[in-house]
């Protein structure tokens, strides 16, 4: 399969190579070289690279639904955050009695709220396997119910975008409530262990980066395979001519639902990988602005290409890190201007621009 990919798309193979190189090389370097060496990457660099990779995965998940199915989902951040919360809950349970209040049964914020027992929906999160399952099931289930209702009644286009935004907004408000039992405003943080290893240690950080990179490559290959399959063809056809596909006898809503759930699950995985690397998950991840930022990553990179989303996510986030460090007030100007300029001048994104350029060169 890699061979066919190499034949068809050299750009993609290059990009995947880069990701693989970074995600393997960086941890290995950190093991081999001493701390003061040039080849030794700081903990900050490692975690920020890991963060970019999870964002790339998140962008990829949006590209599936937006680029291939034509559904501009403005609530992708919600699935990301739900996956993150599922992972965060597991990490919270691992703290045990090392928390500030030292209660072995309850997380700190529940002790603070005078709760006496663990709510039922926290049960089972002591086990990594269960939490990992929930990372997929919770976003997937939400996407399934939401999508089933929406696609069945043929809510499309802008309406769908707005109600997905309302969905993430509603979740934002809900998770801000202390009574929800997810830590309210502060969210979940102060993690100690993951699978028995210290989450702050260099080895774990390196492994998380490696896992993020490998998952991203795996997700890319899987998405590509899905989109090149017959199912993917139908989905692309739905994007271009929905009613014609329906008249040909396909159940359009089933295909949409399938892609929507898949994309939500990928977003959930991205969230689950994101949380241990940044060490916190709070309700602001649900904010509509975050979901819109995901959209701009994909738009800049070029939608409907998969690797465009990866390029866009990394580029925009790198720019964000640089700009917010250098002159925070510039960042929103930059982001706003990018939104405007990309939609008007770069409708296919950077990758589309590059492909067109090469195409013209050939001619």
């Amino acid at each position: 399969m890699l061979a066919t990919l190499y034949k068809q798309d050299k750009l993609a193979i290059g990009l995947l190579g880069c990701i693989a190189l970074i995600s393997v090389l960086v941890p290995v370097c950190n093991l081999l070289f001493p701390v003061d060496s040039v080849m030794h990457f700081s903990a900050y660099t490692v975690s920020i690279m890991g963060k970019y990779l999870t964002f790339a995965l998140l962008g990829l998940s949006l590209d599936l639904i937006w680029g291939y199915c034509g559904i501009l989902a403005l609530g992708q951040g919600a699935f990301f955050a739900l996956g993150g919360y599922a992972m965060g809950m597991y990490l919270m349970r691992q703290i045990g009695n090392r928390s500030v209040y030292g209660n072995p049964l309850l997380p700190d914020f529940m002790v603070f709220l005078n709760w006496t027992e663990l709510p039922w929906y926290w049960l089972g999160f002591d086990h990594f396997g269960f939490a990992a399952l929930m990372v997929l099931v919770v976003p997937g289930l939400l996407a399934f119910v939401f999508g089933w209702l929406a696609f069945r009644s043929r809510v499309t286009g802008v309406y769908l975008s707005i109600i997905t935004q309302a969905l993430t907004y509603a979740l934002l408000l809900a998770f801000f409530r202390n009574e929800m039992g997810f830590g309210g405003n502060n969210g979940l943080t102060d993690f100690k262990d993951i699978l028995g290893f210290n989450i702050q240690s260099e080895a774990v950080r390196g492994s998380l980066l490696m896992v993020s990179g490998l998952v991203l490559i795996g997700a890319f290959m899987a998405s590509r395979w899905v989109m090149l399959s017959k199912l993917g063809r139908v989905v692309t056809a739905v994007r271009d001519q929905e009613s014609r596909v329906r008249f040909l006898g396909y159940r359009v809503e089933h295909f949409k639902l399938w892609v929507f759930v898949l994309s939500a699950m990928l977003a959930g995985i991205a969230g689950a990988l994101y949380v241990p690397q940044v060490g916190i998950i709070n309700p602001s991840e649900f904010s509509p602005l975050n979901s819109l930022e995901i959209v701009i990553w994909v738009a800049i990179g070029g939608r409907g290409t998969l690797y465009g989303a990866i390029v866009g996510a990394v580029l925009v986030n790198y720019a964000k890190t640089l700009l917010t460090g250098w002159a925070p007030e510039i960042w929103l100007f930059f982001l706003g201007a990018t939104f405007i300029l990309v939609t008007i001048f770069l409708p296919d994104g950077l990758v589309g621009f590059w492909q067109r350029h090469k195409h013209e060169q050939k001619q």
């Binding site: 501009l72 939401f146 209702l149 929406a150 069945r152 009644s153 043929r154 809510v155 286009g157 802008v158 309406y159 975008s161 707005i162 109600i163 935004q165 309302a166 969905l167 907004y169 509603a170 408000l173 809900a174 801000f176 409530r177 509509p288 602005l289 819109l292 959209v295 701009i296 738009a299 007030e329 929103l332 100007f333 982001l335 706003g336 201007a337 990018t338 939104f339 405007i340 990309v342 939609t343 008007i344 409708p347």
Partner: protein, 567 residues
């Protein structure tokens, strides 16, 4: 006008005057005669008849003997004129003095240098006199008590309802059997409803203290229609039980009667609470409608998703802030002037957005959404850079602050009331613009069928720009209203954008009435749920409801019908 026509006009005027003459003179004569008859009788009866009484009474007041003073008080009380009440009140308050040198009674108010004097008899201003130059007219205790009664009676019978109200309230502060009798007397003849109620309240609360059973039952009768916190407290106190289950009120009949009255009062309180919820719901709805109605034009009529709509409202709110900074002494005027100013500013920004960005993206709604979102980030950051990220406080002018206290249990805040009214005004105006003006006609034509409208010679590009400007301007106006009830900060728009989209989508795209109804029903639903579920949960529930609703009826409450709907 030429000289000729001037002259002719003059002639006509002259002729008319001639014609009118007999009539006019007769009228005048009649009037004069009536006046001649009335005037002296009025002035004479007030002054000359009373003049003698005043002189005599004031002289007697000045006398040293207390019996003389008592007689003088009775004399003055018999006059029942406002002047006499003023003198008696001054006497009671210890403000009536004898100006020693001139041996004349004056009313003095204390100021730094001494007393500021007014002639008791004529009301003339006599300037300022030193303390030593005057001597207070004293009263003994029994005289003071009787004077208070007399004054109370006089004021209770005053002509203005407000004066009577004050008298009742004054009596309530210091009540005894005699003043109760006075109040009962008055209740029979009192015509003003407010004063009647007040008397009943005072009487009832007092009678409740009585030991006589029938008196107490009567008191409850008097009180059962009152919406007053004290009444509720007192009636509740009658139901109290001590630790051994003994009732504070021993009489079963009184207790049951009080209970029945309480039930009645509570029912009324529930009505008040419902009115209040309704009002809060309507006012929240008004805010939603104001926020959404501009969107209803850009989104509903033109099909443009303007994510910067919230920021256009924010611009309106900041305009209000700037206007108030410019005119710090005239907050009210600043607010009124900022309505047109905000409209113009937001409309201009809107037109710039439309001409600069949106017109390249017609027919690509998702891209429009993204580009205008970029604009919203840009505007937010601009405001943040100019005005700082902190919230700015916009003051409310006096006539907008405070509450309209209807009774102890029902009070409506003025600012929300005005916003409700303002919302209706803006809505009506917008409806008229769309219905009756040429712009409105063109807007509707372009919305229905762009190519056909173009073929008929309508300049669609200009109409697009103007429509977008109109929608944006309305957003600015909404911002002015918002500045009165919430914090003005860079995030103001963000807070309302999702809500306003919900309102438009819920109401049905392209339908202003739908937007109005949707805004109000969402506002009321929110406020109805709030006491049950809490503010945040109520909002979430409403959002979930809308999400489900849209899936049931994707085109909103009032979907567009006909060809326009199919595009």
């Amino acid at each position: 006008m030429t000289w000729q026509s001037c002259a002719s006009t003059l002639r006509i005027f002259h002729a008319e005057k001639e014609n009118m003459k007999p009539n006019f003179t007769r009228c005048c004569c009649c009037l004069m005669a009536i006046l001649m008859l009335l005037l002296p009788s009025l002035t004479l009866s007030e002054d000359s008849a009373n003049e003698a009484v005043y002189t005599a009474a004031l002289a007697r007041l000045n006398a040293t003997s207390m019996t003389e003073r008592s007689a003088a008080i009775d004399q003055l009380a018999a006059v029942k004129a406002p002047r006499a009440i003023v003198i008696l009140q001054a006497l009671l308050d210890g403000h009536l003095f004898n100006l020693i040198l001139e041996n004349k009674l004056v009313i003095g108010t204390e100021i730094d240098a001494g007393y500021k004097l007014i002639d008791a008899k004529s009301g003339q201003d006599l300037g300022i006199a030193a303390r030593e130059a005057t001597q207070k007219i004293n009263l003994n205790n029994s005289l003071r008590v009787s004077l208070r009664k007399t004054l109370g009676r006089l004021q209770l019978n005053a002509n203005e309802a407000k004066a009577r109200m004050n008298a009742v309230q004054a009596i309530a502060k210091d009540i005894d059997s005699e003043s109760l009798a006075l109040l009962r007397e008055r209740l029979v003849v009192e015509k003003d409803v407010g004063v009647q109620d007040e008397i009943r309240l005072v009487l009832g609360l007092e009678q409740l203290n009585s030991t006589d059973k029938t008196e107490r039952l009567g008191a409850i009768d008097l009180l059962k229609d009152q919406a007053n916190q004290e009444v509720v407290n007192r009636l509740n106190a009658l139901q109290d039980q001590d630790t051994e289950g003994q009732f504070a009120e021993t009489d079963v009949d009184v207790r049951n009667y009080a209970k029945a009255a309480l039930v009645k009062i509570n029912a009324r309180l529930k009505v008040y609470a419902a009115i209040e919820t309704l009002f809060f719901g309507l006012s929240l709805g008004a805010v939603l409608v104001l926020a959404a109605i501009g969107l209803a034009i850009t989104f509903g009529v033109m099909g443009i998703i303007n994510m910067a709509h919230g920021e256009l409202m924010m611009l309106g709110a900041y305009t209000t802030y700037v206007m108030q900074q410019l005119m710090p002494d005239h907050l009210g005027w600043a607010l009124i002037l900022s309505i047109p100013a905000a409209f113009v500013i937001s409309a201009l920004v809107g037109i710039a957005i439309e001409r600069g960005i949106i017109r390249f993206l017609y027919g690509r709604p998702l891209e429009t959404l993204l580009a205008t979102f970029g604009v919203s980030l840009f505007l937010q950051q601009t405001v943040r850079s100019i005005f700082s990220p902190l919230n700015r406080s916009v003051a409310s002018p006096e006539w907008m602050s405070g509450t309209w206290q209807i009774n102890d249990f029902l009070s409506l805040t003025w600012n929300r009331f005005y916003i409700l009214v303002f919302c209706f005004l803006v809505f009506a105006l917008l409806l008229q613009i769309l219905k009756r003006t040429r712009l409105g006609l063109e807007v509707r034509a372009v919305a229905q069928n762009r190519t056909m409208a173009k073929a008929m010679g309508i300049p669609t590009a200009r109409v697009d720009a103007l429509t977008f400007g109109l929608g944006s301007g309305i957003a600015g106006i909404a911002g002015v209203a918002l500045s009165q009830i919430t914090n003005v900060g860079p995030n103001l728009g963000q807070a309302y954008i999702v809500d306003s989209f919900m309102v438009v989508v819920f109401g049905g795209v392209g339908n202003l009435w739908g937007t109005l109804l949707a805004g109000f029903s969402l506002g009321i639903a929110n406020k109805l749920l709030e006491p049950v579920a809490g503010a945040v949960l109520a909002k979430i529930l409403v959002l979930i409801f809308i999400i489900l609703f849209i899936q049931k009826r994707p085109r909103g409450l009032f979907p567009q019908k006909g060809r326009a709907a199919e595009s």
